[in-house]
Symmetry: C2
């Protein structure tokens, strides 16, 4: 224990001194064991009160250096290096964490958030597709501008004002081939090998793949019901000088949690204060089922163009159209254009022209009202049926919007076992585990989405789930010992 | 000169010993100056014949360690590290080398290889687009399989047999959003930060951008009229253990050179022997204007699935359709699927379905015959007019196919100055410089493409060019000294 230098003659409280000692030792990798000494033994060897050690450990935990497991002790939180991240396991798991899940065709698909073809506005979009061909002929199949077809950028600029009260100039909009490509392009622009970035934990696995592919060091910040842990964010920002924070303001994937207005303001303040970008990934803001609780984006509050806003239309329009966009901070304009060109030169000009015409013809509003009606009905059935399963120890926060439920399971249930049993019973679910950046966080969750299934399937699927979780789980690893 | 240890008592010839000495010193970065000692001074200080030094230097040059400049001396060839590559200069040049060129709308555009809308088979493709909507409805806008819409993969497998005599199973084909995306996905799959890769020098700048974006060390191998320098390839393969060689078999960009059959065989042999992949980028094989000189791809000779074949339809069909494909070696299947998913989830299912229908309806053959007719006429006008400019000291190799001429200029002409003068005279050309990996290679070339201009513009444009090169060039850097 000669590693610690405490001085009782100075003003700094002992617990702060101890905290500072640990901080340096952890940052410089000087501690041999992952587990910190027990409170009692350390207090004894240092000749201080237990309370001093407890306070130091609590501060370390608050600042993100350690985590504690009840009844076990306090452990150093390792910065997950991308090379040994847990989402690189063998087999299916490996694909699953990239957002790819093997789903048999007979399954009731609680895994997908994508809309079904009956919700697609095919007639209206077909009209636009044909009209573009008649209007533009071969022009429709030239390379469009790299940044995107100008009239579409105009339409989207208008769309942003009308739907989210957000002003973005058409020349600060880059059309992408879907939201995922937005992530890829931003990664190429901002991430150099070894850079730190911050993400909500858990988060969208497709984003993790894109960041990881660039060699980023990914640091997760726990996602609470009203947004990420801001204290931890502050501490991490100072500690790691991250390139950006990646986040979803509304109906976050997978948790379905939304940010409070206070937290949004704090994020904006911190991003300006500490000069890191915020990547706001928005794919569901439009799907509020409660008119008294309409959600707004972080981008709508962004006065200084600090937020890179990514919009995907895959869940609220049609996935196969492969159109999305990102907004561009002036400073990054040239770099982002280069990255887009390197990625695929430009997105299909024909589809851009058709989507532009679709928006200009004013079809959007009635489309979004229709899908809100349909999804809100599914949401109501979903929550009604889930509430019947209360007594199995499951719980969840009602999102009042979005396309999923983030279901917390009792800790006796092994989520991967549950996943396997569900698959055997033709039920596709997503184990929460795949969305986490590291293993140190409690991950006993599953995500149940209702985007791709009909009302009857919801009822039937949850009956199958009830059946599975009501059976006693095989407990392979425990030994049964008498407790007298 | 005490760095050299030569032993006259052993069997190894002195020049080989000297070569070995230099090799080690260069590889270990032990030589202070870039320039090697002069032949005479080194011979003197070592007490050997001049011939010994000359032979050693020649061997060093052959193996790619040094290059010589006539009348100046011999210089160490530095491995270009991506961070200080010449194609990262400021301003326009920076975009230009990423394949982005600012072209004014009034220009005669010798810079673009892309076809003009009048060549697009709009009627036939429109028929396919509408038929798909009637046939598949909303299904057309679902996410297709990540690897691509199965019937299209089938059609392309057939297309490969019929057009290039190449057998590739439909499950070894990945549909991409154009050829550039193929490069991006392969880069993500194969290149880790710091990996060495080999390219033809000069080569396609969009490929360089994709490789560079992954942190690759890019090594160029001079491109000769019958393909790259194979001896140098052998030496580099041993020296750098590259991940892959990136090449274009026919009408290479920008040189328009094609590989001889012998060189193709050697490439295949070396790739198997030394276990590196070959990325064959094919965008013009179809455009042979001489029926006695029909070109074949390297892939058609590939018995062991070592070649990753990238096909772009942008130049021979329509750029805005954004469809291309790559073939997949079995070993890389899973990794490539993951990379595609991370990039943009999947390419537009709707356009895939339409292109599939277009191919199935048998429209391809007459389309390709039509564009060959048109381009071969442009090619003939282009070469006829260029041949009139013989007396200005320009020269080129006739490719008998493709969409460009690679024009060698007399060395008095400063290519960047020429580029500027052309731009001022509304003539868009591409300075050869932007295609080179390093500066050590002679780059006094321009690329003149005839894809995007009509017959009259070719004649008019070359007249403007003649006007410019016939004027004496400002020679700003030379001092005029009497030579008595």
């Amino acid at each position: 224990m000669n590693k610690f230098i405490l001085n009782k003659d100075i003003d700094t409280p002992l617990y702060i001194q101890l905290y500072e000692n640990f901080k340096v030792l952890i940052e410089e990798n000087q501690l041999e064991k992952e587990k910190l000494p027990s409170i009692r033994s350390l207090a004894k060897s240092l000749g201080v009160n237990n309370v001093t050690v407890v306070s130091a450990y609590k501060l370390l935990e608050k600042e993100g250096y350690v985590y504690s497991i009840k009844g076990s002790g306090t452990y150093i939180k390792k910065l997950p290096i991308s090379d040994d991240m847990p989402y690189l396991e063998e087999g299916d798991m490996e694909l699953m964490v990239s957002g790819i899940l093997p789903v048999s065709k007979d399954s009731i698909n609680f895994a997908s958030m994508s809309p079904t073809p009956d919700l697609f506005p095919i007639e209206e979009f077909k009209q636009a597709l044909v009209e573009v061909l008649d209007r533009d002929g071969g022009q429709a199949f030239l390379y469009p501008e790299i940044i995107g077809y100008e009239p579409l950028r105009e339409s989207i600029s208008k769309f942003l004002v009308e739907n989210y009260g957000t002003k973005v100039d058409k020349d600060q909009i880059l059309i992408t081939s879907g939201g995922q490509q937005g992530l890829d392009i931003i990664s190429k622009t901002l991430i150099n090998h070894g850079d730190c970035i911050l993400v909500e934990n858990p988060t969208y696995s497709g984003a993790l793949s894109a960041f990881k592919s660039r060699g980023a060091k990914i640091i997760g910040i726990p996602m609470n019901e009203d947004g990420i842990d801001i204290d931890l964010l502050k501490s991490y920002v100072k500690r790691y000088s991250p390139k950006f924070l990646y986040m979803m303001t509304n109906y976050q994937s997978p948790t379905t949690y939304s940010y409070s207005d206070d937290k949004k303001k704090e994020l904006l303040f911190l991003s300006k204060e500490h000069e890191f970008y915020i990547i706001e990934d928005d794919f569901l803001t439009d799907l509020s089922f409660d008119d008294n609780d309409k959600k707004s984006t972080l981008k709508s509050m962004d006065k200084h163009n600090q937020i890179i806003f990514i919009k995907s239309f895959s869940k609220i329009f049609m996935p196969g159209v492969r159109i999305g966009f990102i907004t561009l901070p002036n400073k990054l304009f040239k770099e982002i254009i280069k990255a887009k060109h390197t990625t695929d030169v430009s997105s299909s000009g024909y589809l851009q022209r058709a989507f532009d015409l679709y928006l200009r013809k004013g079809y959007w509003k009635s489309h979004i009202e229709k899908i809100k009606r349909v999804y809100s009905e599914k949401y109501n059935i979903m929550t009604r049926e889930l509430d019947k399963l209360n007594n199995y120890g499951i719980s969840y926060v009602k999102p009042n919007g979005g396309l999923s439920i983030w279901l917390k399971l009792p800790k006796e249930i092994d989520v991967l076992e549950l996943y396997k049993e569900c698959t055997e019973n033709n039920l596709a679910i997503v184990p929460g585990k795949v969305f986490f950046v590291d293993e140190s966080i409690y991950s006993n969750y599953i995500r149940l989405s209702f985007g791709a299934i009909n009302n009857d399937e919801i009822v039937e699927g949850l009956k199958i789930l009830e059946n599975i979780i009501s059976r006693p789980f095989k407990d392979k690893n425990n030994n049964y010992l008498p407790f007298i």
